[in-house]
């Protein structure tokens, strides 16, 4: 359980660092961002592999976001159900009344975002089914022709005050 909290905290910190790297002088530092993304991936793996059934939010199983959670550890919960909810468990503010489908899509996208950061370095390609996340780590290819910033702001997740979302909105 504490591993999960630790992992979550590390993921939040890492996302913050990636965001800050965009505004600092001298351009994006490839080395530092690579290291941060490696930490992000490790934390994500721990996060997804730490079995804490009590933390799963209720909700109907859906397979929409499951496909995006690539590389999940073996023996994880059935696709489409609990793993997708994991990133949301810290959102005390989030009312449980959110539409299940919407919630699922949000968490699915969050998990996809993590998988983008973690397993791949440039988030330019469409890895998430939701699309629109091209900007996610577009700054990593700053030295090459980067896509102009497309802020992913057309998903419901962004209206939440979930700390995850706050970090993502920053992109």
């Amino acid at each position: 359980m504490e591993f999960k909290l630790e992992a979550h905290r590390i993921v939040s910190i890492s996302l913050g660092k990636i965001y800050n790297s965009r505004v600092q002088r001298g351009g994006i530092k490839l080395h530092k961002n690579l290291l941060v993304s490696l930490v992000l991936r490790s934390a994500r793996q721990v996060y997804l592999s730490d079995p804490c059934p009590s933390l799963y939010l209720a909700g109907p199983a859906g397979s929409r976001g499951a496909a995006g959670v690539g590389g999940g550890p073996a023996g994880g919960p059935a696709p489409g159900s609990s793993p997708l909810k994991k990133p949301r468990r810290n959102s005390e503010e989030q009312p449980g009344g959110a539409a299940a489908a919407e919630e699922e899509m949000e968490t699915g996208n969050v998990a996809n975002l993590i998988s983008i950061f973690g397993s791949s370095f440039s988030g330019l390609l469409r890895k998430s089914p939701g699309g629109g996340r091209e900007e996610a780590e577009g700054e990593e290819s700053g030295p090459e022709a980067a896509e102009p910033g497309q802020i992913c702001c057309d998903k419901p997740v962004l209206r939440d005050i979930n700390p995850w979302s706050t970090a993502i909105v920053a992109f």
């Binding site: 002088r25 370095f121 700053g142």
Partner: protein, 492 residues
């Protein structure tokens, strides 16, 4: 045969059997190379080490609580002695290079070696803006490397993130006087007043040191340059950025050869970057480069034009018991330096210094822990970004001692022969010349002894990233944030 244990002191136990005895733990003396005693010599720079986060790139002095604070531009970013040790160059975040020259020794008063005084100061790099990518290019000097002296002038290479410059530093101590057709201030004389012929002669003048850029090597690096290294042929040099290494000829600025390229076709597959590169000191065809994964590759330029396939790969298997979220970060190599002999190379990662024998690839021959007590603090160091600090390391002239920096303005020396190590502090408290530096000790856990410092009271803003050792003497230059300390061994 019986054993006798005697407690020699609070720190030491003597174990004796018959005529033999050993001390445990081994003597923690002044350490660092045949019991050298290091003394404070000089300190250069602002009075206060505190850096006010001022407007980037603009140098200003602010008064704050009666003390003078200098801006970020004065942060020292590189330190390098020249081949004779007579000159000491520093580069800073503001793009300036300051060169110090050692005074000629006073043969009569030989109680200390010559002092280093400012010889030349010049602005090497200016901030630039890449309009195509909307990126600002920092003027911070990442590295300075001296060329060996061939004539009266001195030459050095300095680089920022994108551009390398060759600077010529020359002295002028004479000037021509008595022109026939010109006044002393340069204005031409009225020709009708010229009635005699006068030949100009050279007369002495006050020494003037001029720095002029002789070559500018630009537009060859997409990523940030982290290293430059001059080849032993003294005609070519390499420059390395995160993904590529280029080979230049010192005379040719409009082209360079790419000799290493680790950029994947798909940037998504990027797993490691180049962190440092250096030419072998004797073999002009050999160079090494280190990676963020903790590996070092040795390449031979004779093998192929593009040295993507290494001749040797130096890697130590990871200790699985030390695995954590941050294992990958702390194994990233921040500096690699060949020994003067060329037989060994040293690498610095976040927590340790490793010495590698070029003939043995599967593990280092020596490993020295710089600040192992930080291993349990990696998460905090990740949060405050300290875990990304890039410490450098250096050899002494005889390759018997290695030195590297740490936090709290501490720096460490490891004697390879005696296996002793010492921790010293660069601080203005010991600022009387010839004051012997007192060894410091960090208390990792448990009871803190007198004069020890606990890990939690270390100041992580005071970091020593750059150190340099005189090529022939026991003189070291240690850079704190914006001060340069010079220490010498005690001369009796």
């Amino acid at each position: 045969m019986y054993f006798v244990l005697r407690r020699k002191s609070a720190l030491q136990v003597k174990i004796q059997w018959g005529p033999m005895c050993i001390y445990f733990p081994p003597t923690v003396g002044a350490g660092g190379g045949n019991d050298i005693q290091w003394c404070f010599s000089q300190v250069k720079g602002a009075v206060d080490d505190d850096v006010a986060e001022g407007a980037s790139g603009i140098r200003f002095l602010t008064w704050k609580w009666g003390a003078v604070h200098t801006s970020e531009a004065d942060i020292i970013s590189t330190v390098e002695f020249n081949h004779s040790g007579e000159l000491l160059a520093t580069g800073d975040k503001g793009g300036r290079v300051v060169i110090f020259q050692q005074e000629q020794e006073n043969k009569i008063q030989s109680h200390s070696r010559g002092e280093y005084n400012v010889y030349s100061t010049f602005q090497s790099h200016e901030p630039e803006f890449d309009y195509l990518k909307s990126l600002e290019i920092e003027e911070k000097i990442n590295k300075i490397r001296w060329l060996p002296q061939k004539n009266a002038a001195q030459f050095l290479l300095s680089t920022n993130d994108k551009t390398i410059k060759l600077w010529k530093i020359s002295e002028r101590d004479k000037r021509p006087e008595g022109y026939n057709l010109k006044e002393e201030d340069g204005r031409y004389r009225d020709p009708t007043t010229v009635t005699t012929l006068r030949v100009p002669v050279f007369r002495p003048m006050d020494l003037m040191v001029e720095a002029s850029p002789r070559r500018i090597f630009a537009n060859a690096h997409t990523y940030h340059i982290n290293s430059i290294s001059i080849n032993s042929d003294y005609e070519t040099y390499l420059s390395a950025d995160d993904l590529r290494i280029n080979l230049w000829h010192l005379e040719i600025t409009d082209r360079s050869f790419n000799i290493v390229d680790i950029k994947p076709a798909n940037m998504e597959e990027l797993t490691e970057v180049i962190t440092a590169a250096e030419f072998h000191p004797n073999s002009c065809n050999t160079f090494v480069y280190s990676s963020s994964k903790g590996t070092i590759r040795l390449c031979d330029m004779r093998a192929s034009a593009l040295c993507d396939r290494h001749s040797k790969l130096f890697e130590e298997p990871e200790d699985p018991s030390n695995r954590s979220f941050f294992s990958e970060i702390i194994s990233s190599i921040s500096d690699v330096k060949f020994s003067h002999s060329g037989r060994y190379m040293m690498t610095r990662d976040y927590l340790s210094v490793k010495i590698w024998d070029l003939n043995m690839e599967n593990r280092p021959v020596e490993t020295y822990q710089v600040h192992e007590y930080l291993r349990s603090k990696l998460c905090s160091l990740y949060e405050n970004d300290c875990i990304f600090d890039k410490f450098e390391c250096c050899w002494n002239g005889s390759d018997s001692v290695v030195m590297t920096g740490s936090y709290n303005n501490f720096f460490r020396m490891f004697d390879r022969n005696t296996k002793r190590d010492i921790t010293l502090e660069a601080s203005r408290e010991n600022n009387k010349p010839r004051t012997v530096l007192k060894p410091r000790k960090v208390c990792a856990s448990g009871k803190r002894k007198k004069d020890e410092i606990s890990v939690d009271s270390l100041d992580f803003n005071k970091k020593i990233l750059h150190t340099a050792w005189h090529p022939k003497e026991n003189i070291i230059a240690v850079a704190t944030t914006n001060n340069l300390y010079i220490f010498q061994d005690k001369v009796n």
